[in-house]
Structures are given as C-alpha cells and as structure tokens.
Assembly symmetry: C2
Homo-oligomer: 191 residues x 2
DNA sequence: TCCGTCATGTAAATGGTTACATGATTCG
DNA sequence: CGAATCATGTAACCATTTACATGACGGA
C-alpha cells in the first residue's frame, strides 16, 4: 500500500486550517468567510463569528495571513501569505483524524421501545424530509458550479465532496423510506 | 401529516439523556456504561469518563437515578427511577435537533487542488479501509444481536439503528471506490 | 508479587456556540 | 428615514476531551 502514512501530529484547532483553506481560493473578510463556508462546505462544516474573528487575528499575528483595508470603513480583507499557504499544505498532507460523531435522532431511535412507535415514526419522517431536501439541493449545486467553474483547477475536488454529500443523502433517504415502512407496521401492530 | 411536531425545547446536554436511556435497559455502573455505549451505539455516539461520572452524580441529586452499592468496594450501580424514566420519555418525544457535523477528511479534500493528487488519494484510501472494516463489523453485530436478543422489545429499534450504520457505511464505501478511480486518473495525468 | 482490568473521580485545557454591543452602508 | 444587510468584535457559557490520581480485585 505504499510508503505513505504520516501520523497525525495532533495539530488541533482545524478552524484555523479551514480559514486558511478558504482564503487559498481568494482573499476575503471575516464576514464573507462565514457566508462562503456556509454555501460551499455547509453540509459538512461550519464556523461561527465567535470563532472566525479571534482565529483571524491569531493567524495574522502568526504571519499566516495579512489584513488589508476593505472598501468599507473598518472592514478588513484577509489574504494568505506564503507561510500560510505552506501551513495549509502541511496540514493537507497529514492523515485526517477519525471523527467522533453524535447523532441525536439515532440515539432516540435506539431507545424507541420506551415510547409509542408513532413518536419515532414522526422523527424519522422529519429526517426523511431533510434528506429529501438535501438531495434536491445537491443537483442544483452541481449544475451551477459545473458551468460557473468550468476549467477551475479545484472543480474536480469540489465535485468529489459534492458526490459525498449526494451519495450519503440518497442512502439515508433510502434508509428513511425503509424504516418508515417498518415503523408503520409497528404502529399498526399497536405497540 | 397529523397533529404531531412539538418543537425542541432546547433541553441541552444530551449526555444526561444518553445515560438515562442506557440505564433504561438495565442498572449499570459508570464504568459499565462506558463499555456498553461503546459496543452498542459507538458508531454514532460516545461518552468519556470525565463526562459520565459528574453527570451521574447530577442525575442522582435530581432524583432521576438511584445509586446502590456494587459488589466491589466503592463501586456504585445506578438504576433509573420512575422520574428518570419519565424524563427519558419526555426527551424521546421532542424533535431531535439537526446536528452540525464536521468532517475533516472532506475539508481536506475540498482544498485538494493545493497539493499533489497522490496525497488526497492516500486519505481517501484510508477512509475506504475504515468504511470497509465498518461494513464487516455490522454483519457480525447483526448476527449476534438477532440471536441473543430474539423477542426483546427493543430489538426492532436496535436493528433499525444498525441498518442506518450499515447503509451509510456501504454508501460511503461505494463513494470511496468511485473517488479512488477519479483520483488515480488525476495522479496519472500528473497534477 | 505484579499485571491487567475494574472502578471512581477531578482539574485543566480546549473548542465551540450564543448573546450581546456597536456601527457603516445601501436600498426602497 | 427606516429596514436590511454588511461588518467586527467580546464575554459568558457550555460541553467535552485528556491527563492525572487513586485504589480494589483476580489470576498468572
């Protein structure tokens, strides 16, 4: 399997790296970063202002980004420095740490026998509606970015992450439908 | 779609509810809870000792659980009280809040154009191996619990959550395989 | 006796969200 | 002029992980 496989040096705080990554696409203000993150990687990542602004200051102090005056008074536009780009590349080379996820809906479902089946059915129905909406969104995004970023070197990677979201949403939509059938039978059976 | 749909009363701290749920299956010590959580819902939930012990004390103070002496000296076995079971049921009835997930591997992939395609290939290969191992695990678990808990009222719900994990793992395994093909082509093309 | 596991706990650090405070600019 | 949006920041709070400290018990 090749001589690869550097260990994770436990470079914590991925918020910094997420911001560096976003700035590698182009210079942005803190406010713009939030919106950009939301509409591009929002389905698997998010950041809040309370996290963005302090992190940006820290990155500037460390020389990984430089701030220049924005058009509005008091607004700042941040750009990646060479050191920042280097840091980003180093982080990209490290093995991603496996993440610990928490799914509240599944937790409830696991204890489902404690309440009426109809209760769990409504939770799963809501979950299905969310997955359905997601699937719809993905086809829209795909069409838009494929024409808007044709030829862009990052496009293949953006489509790969988009595929991830779409395949996951479709799979969980199928699970939802199957599960609703099971739960309907249980509601019918009256337990 | 029926008259259901209570809003989430923002009852934070689901750790408490996770523990109440686990205790609804049977009385356990803090130590046992950790192991039980790991091997039953470990693929979508986890708790650490630093969280379990203080939470258990709080639940006891609030009268939601009662502690009795365990067999070993100093060990405590916690059991759900009627109030605890009531609290659990109330929580199960509330709509699960949508969760904000963070996937570090996808974040790196999104910025993949900043480094060699081979780097991203190795990340995805690791991801694929993890999903593959997961799929293997699930079929093992299914066989075990289906015979061990035949007739148990919670079994249908346990199988439903297990299905979720299996369907997700299988879908992401497929995504990994597809993505590896794409990345191999990009490595070949030398960019 | 020593190791591994069972067992409980605390302290510190971390990472993150939420709420709040403030103000500029744009558009109807 | 007022509302929406653009824009920056801080403080408080919260949940969670990690590391550490301690000790009982069983078996090799």
């Amino acid at each position: 399997m090749g001589p690869s496989g550097r260990m994770n040096d436990s470079t914590k705080t991925t918020t910094a790296e997420a911001l560096l990554g976003m700035l590698s696409v182009g210079a942005k203000s803190g406010y713009e970063l939030k919106g950009f993150i939301h509409q591009s990687i929002g389905y698997f990542w998010n950041e809040s202002f309370g996290q963005i602004y302090p992190t940006l200051k820290r990155l500037e102090k460390d020389g990984l980004v430089v701030a220049t005056e924005g058009e509005r008074s008091g607004s700042k536009v941040y750009a990646l420095t060479e050191a920042g780009r280097e840091r980003l590349r180093a982080w990209l080379g490290m093995m991603p740490r496996a993440q610990v996820m928490r799914n509240e809906m599944l937790l409830k479902l696991f204890f489902g026998s404690q309440v009426a089946a109809a209760t769990m059915r409504s939770h799963v129905a809501q979950y299905r509606d969310q997955r359905f909406a997601e699937v719809q969104t993905y086809s829209g995004i795909r069409a838009r970015i494929q024409s808007r970023f044709a030829g862009h070197p990052a496009l293949p990677y953006w489509l790969i992450t988009l595929n991830w979201g779409q395949i996951e949403a479709e799979a969980l939509l199928r699970w939802s439908e199957e599960t609703l059938v099971t739960l309907d039978a249980m509601v019918e059976a009256g337990r």
